[in-house]
Subunit: 403 residues, 2 copies
Amino acid sequence: MKLGKTGNNKFLKQFNETSLLELIRLNKQISKADLAQLTGLSPTACGVIVSNLLEKGYIREAGIGISKGGRRPNLYELNPKSYYSIGVDIDVDYIRFILMDITGNVEYRDMISSRFDQSVSESIAFIEKKVRQIIERNAIREDRLLGVGVSVPGMVDNVTHEVIFAPNLGWERVDLESMMSGMGNFPIYVDNEAICSAISENWIGCCTEQRDFVCINMKSGIGSSIFADGNLYRGCSGSAGEIGHIMVDHNGPKCACGNYGCLETLVSSRSMVEKAQKLVRQGLIADFSDELDINSINSIDFIIDAVKAGNESARVILVEAAGYLGLAVANLINTINPSRIVLGKELVKFSEDILEHMRNIALAKALKYPASRVEILASELGEDSSALGAAIVPLKKLFGHRL
Amino acid sequence: MKLGKTGNNKFLKQFNETSLLELIRLNKQISKADLAQLTGLSPTACGVIVSNLLEKGYIREAGIGISKGGRRPNLYELNPKSYYSIGVDIDVDYIRFILMDITGNVEYRDMISSRFDQSVSESIAFIEKKVRQIIERNAIREDRLLGVGVSVPGMVDNVTHEVIFAPNLGWERVDLESMMSGMGNFPIYVDNEAICSAISENWIGCCTEQRDFVCINMKSGIGSSIFADGNLYRGCSGSAGEIGHIMVDHNGPKCACGNYGCLETLVSSRSMVEKAQKLVRQGLIADFSDELDINSINSIDFIIDAVKAGNESARVILVEAAGYLGLAVANLINTINPSRIVLGKELVKFSEDILEHMRNIALAKALKYPASRVEILASELGEDSSALGAAIVPLKKLFGHRL
């Protein structure tokens, strides 16, 4: 890394400070001499920046390192519990909240059921109240809050950051960043939920070493996000990765978008729940209706539980969905040629044999060569991945990363 | 652009020289003073580099510019016919050759029919002979040949540059770069044909201003390439964009890859020709067989000509193919969110009404928002796009571009 000389230039100073902070993060613990060597800055210039970072509280002393000739140097590291960020993940039936410190440590997490027949402003009021509570109960100084990241299940314009369309929330053209800006003297960052998951997989999950990967999230709908050549790929207007409406079955059911056989009509928690309800209602599957009351089938968990209890009809629902998902995954393997595909949100609830079925179809339908280079795995961050990613967005900003 | 100080560092010197050359290319004509201002190098350092570039012959003086105070400056520009590159595009039934000078000007082009029942080494011998002819007949000094770019209809590994698999040529694991390295004292660059087309569209075609675009080429097979955020996107092992084997019809014909309803079985010159031959052979389409002898149906041109002559059955073949292509294009719009999709190779032969049919299906099947941001158009570079792109590869190297 070659940095500019420090001087009176405010932007250059900020750039050098950000770069040193990122080097401290990446190296965990590091001396001024090593920072000088890595950056090409003079030891004096590094000393000034380190003093600034100490004074602002971002970093702290971390003991004494090994001598490389001369006296043993002081080491520096990120200062835990100094600065914070908040991540909010909005979905149809819940909102998740994460409080994270500058080191990526989760200080607090919560999930609250929500009713999204509320208006946008009611929803925002609800979120704002909860964010204020988190700030107060954790005694966080507002100048130490780096920002609030908000994850939404919809398309977000990559220039204006407006939520273009979040069909499952019934939102269209919602400028969430502006609407939430009154919350406090800290920035708000709105992004798509699959993109937030990719951010967390790349920062603290299973893709910290991957340059080309895809995250597929299933919940009320299904969407994906693409990391290409080490960076988020957003497309020309921010909607890259929207695989929910690729056609996987000509003869499939009609979709809300007007077409037939969209992936989302066959692989989403909503579509699977509807399928289960329908079969029970029609009395077509006796063993299924015996076990479950139709009113209690309102979440994929009931299908998952029924499968665990040995119900074959419930299993067929998952197997069919896994098959269609396999087709979509094959398309992504051919088109994107990723080294990893990470399955997130409610897909982590699928049992290993169902996932294996999906993998087999995906790898059989994809071209041999890219299929031999890809790993398909369930996220270890589970259903929190988007909330975590939303909380990481302000950290990425602090450490000078592209978003 | 901030460049390093010139000095004894060979790499830094090369870097600065490359950067100045690129600035001269981009600005068409430019003075030393403006180069110094754009790069942050001293006027003296710029003067030294410009002298080197003049001496090597890359640039020439281009008259006198406008005074910005002081005397009117000398301008410099790329020196046409100084350095050259050759592009070779290998396909099943022809090989195309392009000789291009440093300014991107095409000095010579040729297309030769070929029979690819030949062995790889026979094919290479044939290409080498032709390349030597081009060099000799155009009196090109070997030290002025920047390299030979070779475009192949198959997957090319992005690290080893080996041709992994080119099914329509019957090639598997062919290290073309090594095999052709004996041709002369200049580098050989092997790349995928759709990627070569994207390179030419971005350098001299309709995508010089686009950061996110997709090129779709149809010939013996069908493939695509992706420009993401201003750079070629190759995926983790070089096969990104291989859309020929995405499934577009469950009930479609069996593909050589073992699956059913791959795009290539429905949209490729080969599949359309086979369809025409079959219909004629079965006597199912009288008006079609009246006009055309079955033996003469060996290229898509015959179908195109029949449509022009008003043959409805031939038209149905194109309309069906255009419909399936529309589905694949819709997938790409949703997944990649490009600002442009450029249709190349034999797709440029489709008449505007057939293309309009395809566009209508693609835009109806895609999500509204990304569909509203994309333009779908036929390449103006026509069937030469890959040969041109192959010739541009050595130029990109010279001007310091990522490949």
